[in-house]
Homo-oligomer: 198 residues x 2
DNA sequence: ATTATTGTAGACCAATCAGTCTACATCGAT
DNA sequence: ATCGATGTAGACTGATTGGTCTACAATAAT
């Protein structure tokens, strides 16, 4: 099996080995333990990198978090623009295939939720920059999702897109809380209901 | 209009005024700012309570969080066991009315997501007690939801319940991230699709 | 061979945190 | 009137945090 999109996103863009090690350790710890609960020293330990190197490359914990946001965003765009776009299925089947990608993601041993959602949960939600970044990410995802929905010939594509987006977020959060990948399958079936009705 | 369930949950059980002030301030700050990001001193300021009183009543920040969990759980049980149960509608209409309650919740100026979900997001997700508490809460909610679904005569009530639960979580998270209550309406429509198909 | 870059190792600092402690005020029940 | 419980006010502590700094090693390009 080809390398999973989550790994590709962190490794295949031009990054030094040190940066890659830092990003992988940071993403894992930020999601599994929490961002505030993860100390810099812990990231350095698990990445096997010196403290100075982290501050050379990223300057601050906040910038490291932003870099982690970028790698997770890359994962999603690879899903939409490579994995799903290369399929010759119908638009409807491509939409449903997204939930199979979610299932693979949930089953990774280092899946502990979505960095964006988790980060919003533990940061200021009134005029906070994290929330703004997450909203922007969300809109990019929904634009791609919306294009597929439109191609599927839905009567009210915007509403169907919002419904599917809701189900996707619900599946991610359910998988995070329960620690089970079953939410992906439930989400796929709910998406079928929505597409059937809409 | 009667007092909202969220307030009732925090005030109507036998609690001292000090405890109520602490719980309201803690819930608000834990959700809006994050649990780790909220210092004890900040809670004391906003509650207008002395440091000693907090440690007299709750002993630790962790115990205060547990108490906040309890008040949010009470809110849900009031929804299910009082607000929804007192309706004379059909089971289907009671299920959909849950999304109207969610809308009211999302529109409160102190809504910043679900304490359980937010707490899981920023705590250890491998053998962490917060995750266990959230799973237990989730199961209680789903049991009540499942009873309504069963009463609605769904063919596969368990699967319909899981789908609806997914949509509920999706709506909560979407409302938290976007800061808009529209997710409740989208969730209601998605729930209608699910009930129609299931 | 030398130099610049990128790395490691770890001491160090100021700030902040959860939690403890002392001293004093208020007030209802006896 | 007094006493015990519950409250406020705020100094204090030990641990931990993000971030800086010095000293040194390895590597690659000139």
């Amino acid at each position: 099996m080809a390398k999973a999109a989550a790994d590709r996103a962190a490794t295949e863009t031009k990054k030094t080995a040190t940066e890659t090690k830092l990003l992988l350790a940071a993403r894992r710890l930020f999601c599994r333990v929490g961002i505030h609960a993860t100390g810099i020293s812990r990231i350095l330990e698990e990445a096997g990198v010196a403290r100075r190197s982290l501050y050379m490359h990223y300057g601050s914990k906040e910038n490291l978090l932003k870099a982690v946001f970028d790698t997770e965003a890359s994962m999603w765009f690879q899903w939409f623009d490579l994995d799903l776009a290369s399929r010759e299925d119908s638009a409807r089947e491509r939409i449903l295939a997204l939930f199979d990608l979610l299932k693979d993601w949930f089953e990774r041993e280092d899946f502990f939720g979505c960095v964006f959602i988790n980060a919003v949960a533990e940061h200021e939600k009134e005029n906070g920059w994290v929330k703004e970044v997450a909203i922007a990410h969300r809109e990019k995802i929904n634009a791609r999702l919306g294009a597929m929905v439109e191609a599927s010939g839905a009567r009210d594509p915007d509403m169907v897109t919002e419904k599917l987006s809701l189900v996707i977020d619900g599946a991610i959060v359910t998988a995070m809380v329960t620690g089970s990948s079953g939410a992906a399958h439930v989400g796929r079936l709910a998406a079928e209901d929505i597409l059937r009705s809409g």
